[in-house]
Symmetry: C2
Amino acid sequence: LARYVSLTAEEKHSLEALEEQTRTFRRGATIRRERDPARELFVVQTGWAQSCVLLGNGSRQILRFHFPGDIIGISSLAHGRSAETIVAVTEATLCPFEYDKIAVLFQRHPRLSALLFSVAVAERSAVADRLVSVGRTPARARVASLLCEILARLSHSEGRPVSEFHVPLTQEEIGDATGLTAVHVNRMMRGLVEDGLIERNGAMVAVPDESRLRSEANFVDRLAHLDTGWLPDPS
Amino acid sequence: LARYVSLTAEEKHSLEALEEQTRTFRRGATIRRERDPARELFVVQTGWAQSCVLLGNGSRQILRFHFPGDIIGISSLAHGRSAETIVAVTEATLCPFEYDKIAVLFQRHPRLSALLFSVAVAERSAVADRLVSVGRTPARARVASLLCEILARLSHSEGRPVSEFHVPLTQEEIGDATGLTAVHVNRMMRGLVEDGLIERNGAMVAVPDESRLRSEANFVDRLAHLDTGWLPDPS
DNA sequence: CGACCCCTTGATTAGCCTCAACAACCGTGG
DNA sequence: CCACGGTTGTTGAGGCTAATCAAGGGGTCG
């Protein structure tokens, strides 16, 4: 799960104790609804999920996609009830654990809790980057930026550079993540293909020149240099 | 600083030890530049600050405003270098403290570190809410939403409902926070005045009917119910 | 085979941006 | 004291980006 620092045996043991059960969800299934009371986190084991907010007028803003290894629901921790709706993008298996266990973690393992803290902070940065993209860049750059983010995160979790990947998102979902309509996402993606920035084959996307796509998108890869130097020593 | 749970004497002592010195900045002064190495946090004592991202084409997205009592720079914690530029909106006095001291905090005071964690998570929610506003609501609602957020946060830090407040922001700054141009912010604000949702007198803004402004803005006040029940016991 | 979802494309509309000009206000220096 | 430049707020006219509306095609599942 945490691939950032090497863990002690005891720390590993504590983490594994959290993953007792798993739950599976079908594509499109709602995992948690906005304003539901929330007393547990999830770790994604397989599949993709998304967290989004639904507005009164029927529109939706997707805040973040969650890949295998990601932790979902940290953001509900401070409020007791979920601030966002969580939906399975593909068929997905999640592994829930309760907040109480986090409290235990904070008491027993300062370094692990600091690490969890880092993860939460990194997520804030990611949401902020999306905000910059949506607030201040044109449609084409927003789509490119989302693709860059997915690419960077997949590469990071694979542990090696990836240049071709499966995107199980509909164009409507891409639109809801970038603040566009499905129709306009379509046009932008065709434009990117036409200009050789990406290649498409069904749900497969290939990026021949990542740096070119990144400059088109104004993308900064923050995952590349996560700093763990400030963490306390293992206790 | 932390007005969420009652602290033990020892916890208070540890917090006060952090605030040794203060620094003051003039209006518009850059406190920290993007990509600068960052090894300290700030607590705002007086004045307003903002964190923003500057793009290549000269535009800027303001991610968040910081008021007295807020902690700035948590987001740089995971990366070692600042992910955003921090600027003083008004003349401001800040009080810096180093990351190393946070590590100590995590080891000695599980409950305080969990509280800091909550603050970080709440900030993620706030950025996410802004993303929803910018991504999926029209200009008028975005401006209204920003005003609602400022109002809610001021009320929260005052500890009582506020209906009239001083906004030291230029319309360009409001635009950079909401993803609009200064010109369009102007038109939207005049529209809000015209429809009786707000009143303006120079930099003073009054909100006669907060609930009406909130429904115009699709605003949800998350500060109202922060949950601290999951925190571990004081050690 | 039909129903449904998703992608695709065209035509039109509307929301917001750009450019431009001017008034009000401020601190500065003569 | 006033003249001055600089910043901010205000308003108008016109243009462009992205939304809306609409229609058709391919794929999959029941």
